[in-house]
Amino acid sequence: MFRVLLFLWVAIGVIPFPASADHSPKIEIVGSTTVLPIASRAAERFEKVERVEKNKSSHRLRILVNAGGSGVGIHSVAKGRSDIGMASREISPSERKRFEGSHLKVHTVGVDAVACVISSEIYDAGIHDLTRQEIRHIYLGKIQNWKEVGGPDRKIVVVDKERHRGTRHAFMKFIFGNPIAKTPGTILVTGSNNEEQTKIAQSDSAIGMLSSAWINDEVRAIGIRDKKNIANPTRETIRKGNYPIVRNLSFITAGEPTGEIKAFLEFLKSPEGQQVVEESGYIPFT
């Protein structure tokens, strides 16, 4: 009995080892859900290009792309838990200081606008733009009903994002002048762009912030009004620099990239890579 058990133990322990050895090169990318569509599309194409060029099936490059948010992206690349981080915001001074030893290097590939978005029901009821002041008051809880800004008599569902998210940083920097502003008017806190998009679409009186690539018929972008000027987050206004809430979409490496990672980042900056940025709904960085 004992011998049988011992044998099983050894057998189970030993067998998996040879099978788990895997030497094919691998790039791990983690971070912003805004940059993620660019990364996964580019990864697919890049893997194809690599395969044609090298034509060696045994050494197939694999690129793994995972979400988490800009904060997570910066963290994991700085700590060596991933090869490339994705960020939709600048590296904050405190992060710069904390990760001084990692020599973080930013490779910007595109530009995106952060739109103030509202539920389609409110949009259809006539709200097509708000001033910075109005949005600020909504997030501070001073304005709690849509009728105070000319909409229907309905309470506002104020949707915020987790504090480390790049989209929130860009939005709050414009609205409050502080990327980590406190927002006592918040009713819901969401994480990724997808989560926020779903929650706003499910509600009929929500306001929130989303990357411009996530706008659709259920979640409508509104313009930012400044006196008589209204800036809408369209491709045209973003490209011309007329929309106020824009941020760079970047890939981050610890130190100068080398080998496969360098090749991938160069691919992103090449015309073909910039095409991918465009297809993902963003403005190429030139």
């Binding site: 948010g69 987790e162 009713i187 819901l188 806190v189």
Partner: protein, 287 residues
Amino acid sequence: MENESHGMMWIFAGLNLIFLCCAGGLLFFLIFESYPIFKLQGFGFWLGQDWWVGEAYGALPMLYGSSLVTALACLLVLPLALAVAIFTSEFLTSTSRRCVKAVLELLAGVPGIVYGLLGVSFLSLWIKDVFGLLDGNTLATAGCLLAIMILPTVLTLSEDAMRAVPSEYRDNALGLGLSKWQVATAVVLPQAMPGIMGAVLLGIGRAMGETIAVMLVVGGLDRIPDPWFNIFSSAQTIPSKLGREAAESIGEATHWSALMALGLTLFIMVLLINFIGNRFLKRRSIS
């Protein structure tokens, strides 16, 4: 033969020791990792209401949210579980009983994320419509979802506890002229009570630790509802907070320590509930 069983015993004892060490090690790790935040804020960590990374870490909203959600789930689950367990154990034929059990045990194995997605796409919308709420991501939604999640576990274990009551008890009671209903409620149920309590405790443990399903429907707002009994407002639970912030905080001393302290708090809460439950059971069985 004697020798072999002796050897086996040593192996089992060794394994036992390993598991004990794992539990102790976990507790030690949590205390060690959360020490910095307690050094910084003292026990005010549990009383603070503001959680702003880099400024202040107050766990009260999360503590409150976790307790309330779990209590809600228990309140919803207990009557349902008892009713169905009594019916399944005492009134069903053995074939249909086995069918019911198989389905329940299948449900008990469904992962949390599946319940979470169902919660986001259906339950939160239903609750919003039924109660006429501003938004469906509330404590009540999380409570209901948890109730649904732990129901199969609580139910099937309660039913096991009732089946485990020896059939002589039933035969004697029936022989004394009690009706089937009286036998179930006055004879079997009290006897099975310790087992049922154990089932509920297990359910509470799962409800308290459930991360992803709660995270998706609870609203993620680190604030105690106003007024405090307003279960139709967004809030935050401990596991949901950990789930949202853990990846970002690894290696960031104070933030990480605060999250570990939250984990420690949850650990202690579950321990306390189990302890109280055990005391309660002992007292019952003595009387």
